[in-house]
């Protein structure tokens, strides 16, 4: 599971550039801050490698296994 916090994102594109599986793409959408956040285009290829989270300077992207509700 990949979650992007659009309030924290500054639209730098590092997560997109360093994703080895092309899971992310910069979107055309404009946030309240006036920036283009990334969007998830290909979640099934995500290996949870962690690069996007590691290189996001603004803690705006989180990956993790989706917790199952029992």
């Amino acid at each position: 599971m990949i979650e992007i916090n659009e309030e924290l994102c500054k639209g730098c594109g590092l997560c997109v550039a360093f994703c080895p599986k092309d899971v992310l793409k910069m979107s055309n959408k404009l946030t309240k801050k006036g920036i283009h956040p990334p969007e998830v285009i290909n979640e099934k290829d995500c290996t949870l490698c962690g690069n996007c989270m590691l290189y996001c300077p603004d803690l705006a992207i989180v990956i993790g296994k989706e917790e199952k509700i029992v």
Partner: protein
């Protein structure tokens, strides 16, 4: 369902947004420090983070929910020395910029290393005075056109790891923001090391460095760090011309030397 960022718990409530421009390496360094604290399973309240003036000085302050001492330009090591000597149990980490630590603060830097006082010093080296508009500094690469060197920088930059090593530091490493995983590991080592530990992080300033000098945006700058880095373990095998323009990364030294606070404690015992 929401997943919570594992490092949010270390961020001061109300200060979630960093002070950095988009893509600034400072955020990657901030995260690497917090990840190291988290992986070491240490209490962030046992730390005191000390910074000076400049963009990099905002890495811990007010972002980290811990004791943070935001001091005057060039002086964080002097303040940190006082904190450590007054309470040697505290883990004291200095996080600041290249201008702050080795231009105006250069003397504090070499003398703290010489004294071997137990501090962890992390220098976010963007090769420039970021905050004040991109002026040349003692870490700016030769030849570079900056706001104050329109015809190119005529001076040579400091080699910070070798400066720290020669001055007496017991642990020295250099990484770039591309090496965030190795950087985290190094910070863990530096925190656990008794004595003066120094880590240089080559870090992108896409605004005052990238835009003005033609180094490009944050993505280009980090891709170049990846391309141009050479491990210190491979340096001996390379010729001088092969090392031109390369960033040597890795651990430069890891040695044991008497540490100042421990020597003071021993002296106290001796003189009664």
């Amino acid at each position: 369902m929401k997943i919570v960022h594992p490092l949010i718990k270390y961020v001061r409530p109300g200060f979630l947004s960093t002070t950095n421009c988009a893509g600034c390496g400072n955020g990657i360094i901030a995260q690497s420090i917090l990840r190291a604290v988290d992986e070491l399973e240490m209490d962030i309240d046992d730390f005191v983070f000390v910074s000076g003036i400049g963009c990099a000085a905002w890495i811990p302050s007010p972002f980290f929910n811990a004791d943070v001492l935001h001091t005057t330009h060039g002086r964080p090591i002097a303040f940190a020395t006082g904190v450590k000597l007054s309470n040697p149990k505290l883990r004291v980490m200095v996080v600041s910029g290249d201008g702050d630590l080795v231009a105006i603060g250069g003397n504090h830097f070499i003398h703290a290393a010489r004294r071997n006082i137990d501090l962890t010093v992390i220098c976010a080296n963007n090769g420039i005075y970021g905050m004040t508009g991109g002026q040349v500094g003692p870490t700016t690469p030769s030849g570079l056109k900056t706001a104050t060197t329109p015809y190119g920088n005529l001076e040579r930059p400091f080699d910070l790891p070798n400066l720290a090593k020669a001055a007496g530091a017991v642990y020295v490493a250099r990484w770039t923001t591309y090496h965030a995983r190795q950087l985290t590991k190094s910070i863990k080592r530096a925190v656990q090391k008794k004595g003066f530990s120094f880590i240089e992080v080559i870090s992108q300033c896409p605004v005052q460095f990238g835009r003005r000098t033609g180094a490009g945006n944050a993505v280009t700058m980090m891709q170049n760090y990846k391309k141009n880095s050479v491990s210190i373990k491979k340096v001996d095998k390379l010729k001088e011309n092969e090392l031109k323009g390369k960033i040597i990364v890795g651990e430069f030294i890891d040695r044991e030397e008497p540490e100042l606070c421990e020597e003071i404690a021993k002296m106290r015992e001796r003189i009664g």
